[in-house]
Every structure is written in structure tokens, then in C-alpha cells.
Symmetry: C2
Subunit: 416 residues, 2 copies
């Protein structure tokens, strides 16, 4: 199998200003064609650092992909480092310049063509992959049969370059191994116990199968990756092992194919033709967003409401003022009434509600930060649960709760 090394260049990640999502995307795409990322270097945009890292990367990888450091501004030095590392000169590439000119023309910005002309200067030995969504082209250099691609850092420029151009190129160029991955989602068993339960199975796995434990909230994802040269054989082999695993874990398995909880939910809802709606308070829209992040969600997600202000809970969701008064707004009872009101408002089979205190400030009724009640309503059936997660930061809290609500719903639907 080919080994890849990613190099992320620029201060944005090192300073904590930006989360590195490019590496995640690239690693996933490469994995799909059987190339494994074995290392990621995140470095600053300095010529010597870039050159040293390229040297280290070429020692461990057959394929190097750098992102970032190619902007038109003074703080970007990657191109210069590339030229020096590969003993090359930077020269104007006419094809790239014409592409740039067309790009600027289409956007009605020919007036700034000259300012961006710099972008059409590339190392003379490089093969250029044109960027259709930005001004910095992707450059490929070859050395001793190993490849080095340099891409800009903007995620929405990186994605099409990787997907539409680099992946197809690599598929054709290399005689690739196959990699087949399956994810088994387990809930309700702590990681350490799970490890104990499946220890014998794990130890007996064939050598070309690798197992990883990936905890997400209260769910543990078991990732099984098989590598080899026959795709169908790998699929069969993985399936066989999963069939041996399932009896060991029993009811705790909520999915054996999809990875993301919103996709697992999507499969069930679509199959059973069920509709769903959400009524959120402390999750602030994250629950709806998680559900709608799945393409095709418009088939089952009718809508949601973020009833932040208490009077909106009573006005729109018909939560009774009496209930709020008696039990406070962060209560089992209000969660239940929110779900009921939501189900009626949107006319759905299922409704979900959350009410809690995301923090860092206390809620208006003095409930402790990290407290949340959530209700899952399926037709006439209703389950309300409480979580207390005081250690989570606001955004993590919103995400954790949303994950847990969907996970519980999946559990309920499966056990029905």
C-alpha cells in the first residue's frame, strides 16, 4: 500500500485560529483508494522549515500532499521553498496564466489580474492542476518515483482539487491496493468492558484486518479495516468477522454500516417512512443541523424550532405557563410538553426536544450548568431523560447532547 504524508503549512492552524479540516478530508479520500496517511506535519510558513519537513516526509511517504502557503500575500513562502527543495526555478506558466485570466474574467475582476499574476508563476518542472475555485494552482513535482502535490489551503478549493483531479490521477498512476472499512457502532458498554468482551475475537483477527476503538460521546465505534488486492474478498472477509462479532455484543450494536449517527438515523427513518421534527432550547439549532447535514433529509425532516425565549416555548410550542411556573423551564415536564407541541406543530411521527443550561452562565431558573432534559416522542410513546455534563464547553455541550438524543432515538427505534 502506498503511504502518504500530509504537510499543513501556515500559522492559521498553529496559532489555534483555524481547525485543520483539510487533513481530515484528504485522509478520508486517500483511504478510499487504499492510500494510508501515516503522518501529518503542521508547520509554519518558513522556507527552511518547509524544506526540512519535505525531506522528512520523503523518507516515510511515497506521496506528499501539502496544503496552504500559496496565497498572493507577503506571508506565503511555500512556492519558494518548493523551488529550492527541488532545485528548480520559478517561471511564468502560460497555460496557468490563461486559466487565471479566464477565471478573473468570469468573475468580472479582470482589473485585478495583474495583482494576481504572481499565482501563474510555478516551479518550471511542475505539472499544474488548475484550480477552478481560486487563484492558486495545484503544482505536482516528482522525485525518485515519489510525488509531491502542493495545494492552496482554502478548504473549498482543496476539496474539488482532491476529488476531481488528484484522486483520479493517483488511481490511474499507481497500482493500488484495496482498503475496505466497516464501522460497528456500540452503545451502552464502556470501552474497557467492550475490549474485554471482544478480546478473543480481536486476537484471532486475520493479519490483514486492523481494529480501532473510536469513542464518540457515549458510543464506541469499532472500525475494522481490511487491506489486500481483491476487493470482493476483502468485503466477504470483513463481513465474516462482523458476523462473529455480533453475537458477542448483542443488543448493544446500533449499526454495522454507516458511521455518522445522523446517517444511521436516516437509514432507519427512510426505510420505515417516518417523519421527524425538533424543538430545541439549549442545543440552539445543533440538533436540527445535525439531522439536516445528511443529504436527503428533506424526505423525513419536516422542520424544527429553536424556542430560546421561554415565552416562545409557551406561544409556539404550547407549553403550559403553569408547567413552567411549577417545574421551571429546565425540567422533565417542559421537555415533554415541548416534544408534544412540536409533534403537533409539524405533524410528524417523531419529535425531539431539549431544554437545559449550556453555560457558562447559569440558566434563568438557577439550574446548574450542564443540566439538560430531553424528550423523544414516537407517535404516542414518550421517553424523557436527563443528562448532567458540567465539564463540557458550550459548543461541545450542544454537540454532545444532540449526538446523545439521536443515538437514544436510534436505540429506541431499533428495539421497537
Amino acid at each position: 500500500m502506498e503511504k502518504a504524508v500530509l504537510i499543513t503549512i501556515g500559522d492559521e492552524i498553529l496559532s489555534g485560529n483555524t481547525v485543520d479540516t483539510n487533513s481530515n478530508f484528504i485522509a478520508t479520500e486517500l483511504k478510499n483508494i487504499g492510500i494510508q496517511v501515516t503522518q501529518i506535519f503542521t508547520i509554519s510558513d518558513e522556507i527552511d522549515t518547509i524544506k526540512n519537513t519535505l525531506e522528512a516526509a520523503f523518507k516515510v511517504g511515497d506521496l506528499i500532499i501539502t496544503t496552504g502557503g500559496l496565497g498572493p500575500t507577503r506571508d506565503d513562502k511555500t512556492k519558494k521553498a518548493l523551488a529550492e527543495f527541488f532545485n528548480d526555478e520559478i517561471a511564468l506558466d502560460e497555460v496557468t496564466f490563461n486559466h487565471l485570466k479566464n477565471y478573473m474574467e468570469r468573475r468580472g475582476r479582470l482589473d485585478i489580474l495583474e495583482r494576481n499574476k504572481e499565482q501563474a508563476f510555478v516551479p518550471s518542472k511542475s505539472v499544474v492542476f488548475q484550480n477552478h475555485y481560486g487563484t492558486a494552482p495545484c503544482m505536482m513535482m516528482e522525485q525518485d518515483g515519489k510525488l509531491c502535490f502542493s495545494l492552496p489551503g482554502v478548504p473549498y478549493e482543496v476539496k474539488p482539487l482532491i476529488k476531481d483531479q488528484i484522486i483520479p490521477y493517483l488511481k490511474e498512476k499507481f497500482n493500488l491496493y484495496y482498503l475496505h472499512t466497516r464501522i460497528v457502532s456500540v452503545v451502552g458498554i464502556p470501552e474497557s468492558i467492550l475490549a474485554d468482551i471482544i478480546e478473543d475475537w480481536e486476537l484471532a483477527l486475520p493479519e490483514n484486518l486492523a481494529l480501532s476503538y473510536l469513542p464518540v460521546g457515549t458510543r464506541v465505534k469499532l472500525r475494522i479495516t481490511a487491506s489486500g488486492d481483491n476487493e470482493n474478498a476483502l468485503k466477504q472477509q470483513t463481513e465474516d468477522e462482523i458476523q462473529k462479532l455480533l453475537p458477542l455484543v448483542g443488543d448493544h450494536v446500533i449499526a454495522v454500516s454507516e458511521d455518522k449517527i445522523e446517517k444511521i438515523l436516516a437509514e432507519i427513518l427512510t426505510e420505515r417512512k417516518l417523519t421527524i421534527s425538533t424543538a430545541e432550547s439549549c442545543t440552539g439549532g445543533e440538533l436540527a443541523k445535525m439531522i439536516t447535514s445528511n443529504s436527503g433529509s428533506s424526505k423525513y425532516f419536516m422542520g424544527g424550532i429553536v424556542a430560546y425565549a421561554t415565552e416562545k416555548k409557551t406561544e409556539i410550542l404550547k407549553v403550559s405557563k403553569e408547567t413552567v411556573h411549577q417545574f421551571t423551564v429546565v425540567s422533565e415536564q417542559v421537555a415533554g410538553e415541548m416534544a408534544k407541541g412540536c409533534q403537533e406543530l409539524f405533524g410528524t411521527d417523531i419529535s425531539l426536544s431539549t431544554t437545559g443550561v449550556a453555560g457558562p452562565g447559569r440558566g434563568e431558573d438557577g439550574k446548574e450548568v450542564g443540566t439538560v432534559f430531553y424528550t423523544i416522542r414516537i407517535n404516542e410513546k414518550e421517553v424523557t431523560s436527563k443528562l448532567y455534563m458540567p465539564h463540557l464547553e458550550r459548543l461541545d455541550f450542544m454537540n454532545f447532547v444532540s449526538q446523545k438524543v439521536i443515538q437514544d432515538l436510534v436505540g429506541l427505534l431499533i428495539s421497537e
Copy 2:
């Protein structure tokens, strides 16, 4: 200034399964006490790789922080690598074991104490920082005056360890330089032109000030970082430079302090005592989530609705069926009526609406993927705009549109 190197251990990131948010958090926290992360290594959980990377890290950093690879399962090998690298033995630490016992007891899980006992074994020379939110402790090793902290990988265990224990420890241990950062947000000027406009100013910056360009959607963030040993002097110096910068960029500056667009919005809304609500279609809750991710948002955010199904737009938001029929649901007119209905429903000064096609499938009325209309309504004033972003993936699209809507709103409020 002290230099830090982060090492992220484990397959989760390399396989593309998980986005590395720990590094982002740690880098930000370290920056706040004047420690700069100069490199991040993301590596697999193999003993030799870990040892080699520790060696490389000690060459460039004074402070090493590793995350991941400390779980109780078979695939975690970090502790063994640490012991080998530091020529140490792994031994049971009684204090850590007692802490673990208490932790398990509080959670009513004493039954699995033995299974987790492994976690109380640490390199004998290490200083342990107890983990209050998980079973794997943080271990600190010292070598030649340099420090190496090893943390578990779970983000909500990492955050309190860093914030409550490691940062205070480092502050006391090192005689730290100060670092002062300001972000100036510029909209409506492409990065390359902006660079041109402020070139003279940039070249004349004092040596202890560094400038970076960070594009986010259609906004460019200029980050100015000053380092030195007098905190107040740094603040004054940065402020002076910003005052020189402002006249050059004029009306295009939307903020000179806060970094995140939702915080910039929060400042304005709070100051002017304005309330806001959202009516979303294609952004699926992301817009509400972005606004509510700011703590204190309950003061100005009254609520939002995700009206995914067309009939919910007409029923709840009172969009006229006639308008939908005549112009289709993805239209300027529907966006406008959604905003109006939303403003009335929630009784707010401002309302925001989005209607579009996030893809990858086409919308029901055949509008092209990537098309979105959004309306910003401030009292009686209403502005509707169109975006066409066919190259963005679903989640990126939802995020980009939400960023842009809030950014436009900020622009409108400032220019009022």
C-alpha cells in the same frame, strides 16, 4: 518565548475519522500565555514512531504535549513508548489508583475498577496530573529542563486538564513572555487588493509585530500579534498600529476586537439592545446554532425556526402559497416573506431567513444546487441577496451561507 510542539497520537485523525480539535484548543490556550506552537505532528500509535517523533520534537521545542493513545484498550501504546524513551519503568502509582477508585465509585462503576487498573500504571519518574473526567491520567516527564505532558485524546478530558491544571502550572514554572493579539475583520476587499493597499503599513511594522491574513468566507481577518515583556506596552503598540491601519481600509473594517462573526454580532446587538430571530431552510439550523454558540445569546436571540418542508413555511411563517406557486420556494420573494413571518412570530427587531438548495440533490423546484436567497430584515427595512456556491459540499455550504448572512447583517448594522 517558549516553543511548544504538539504530538497527536492515534489512528482516528490519520484515517480521516476524526477532525483534530484538540490541537486547536491547546494552541489557543498556549498562545494566551505567550507560548507558541511551532509544529504539530500527527502520528500513528506505534512505539517506534512515537519515540522517533519525541526525539524530533525535543530538538525544536521546550515543551511537548502529546494527546491520545492512553485508552485502556489493546491498540494504545503511548505509555510504553514514553517509558522506553525516557529510560523509565512503568509502575503502579497509588495516588493515581486511589483517584481512579474514587472516580469509579462516584460513577457507581466500582465493578469495572479492576479492568481500568491499568490506567494507574505510569512511568515511575512522571509527575501525575489527575484526570477528573476520565480514567487516563496526564503524565509529565522532564528532561534537560524541557517538559513533556502526555494527555488522553478525548476532547472533553483534554480541555479541563489543559485549562485548570497545565496552564496554571506552566505560568508558574516559566518566566513567560507576553503575547498580545488583535484581529481586524475586513469585508468587501479581495485579499490580494487588501495586501496591496496596506503594503507600506505592513512593511513598516515594528519587528516584534507579526501580521497574518486569514480569509474566512468572504471576510479577511488581519491578525496582528505582538510579543515582548511588557503587557501594557504591547497593547499600546498594537493599538497604535491599528489606528494607522484603519484610515487605509476605511469602511471595509467591520470589527477590530472580536474574531468570530457571532461575537462581533453579539457586541452590536447587546450594545443597541436589539433582538433577533431566524427562519431557515437550506441552512438547516446552522444559522441559529452559530448565533447561539455565543454564550449570553439568550439576551438577544429569541428563537428560530427550521422550516424545511414547504407547507411549514406557509403554515408557520405565513409565506403565501401564491408566492411559492408563482416564484418557487427558492426565490427572493419567499426569502422575504419568511423573514417577515419570522419577525412577527418571534416579535424581534431583526429577522434572518435562508432558502436554497444545499445539495447534492436538486431542490424540488429544480433550482440549481448551491443557489440560496437570504433576507435580512431590520425593523421595516429588508435586504434580500442571492448567493450561488455550487462548489461547496453540503455542510460547508450551510456554514458558508450562515457566516455570510451574519456578516452582511453586521455590515448593515454598522453602516446604519
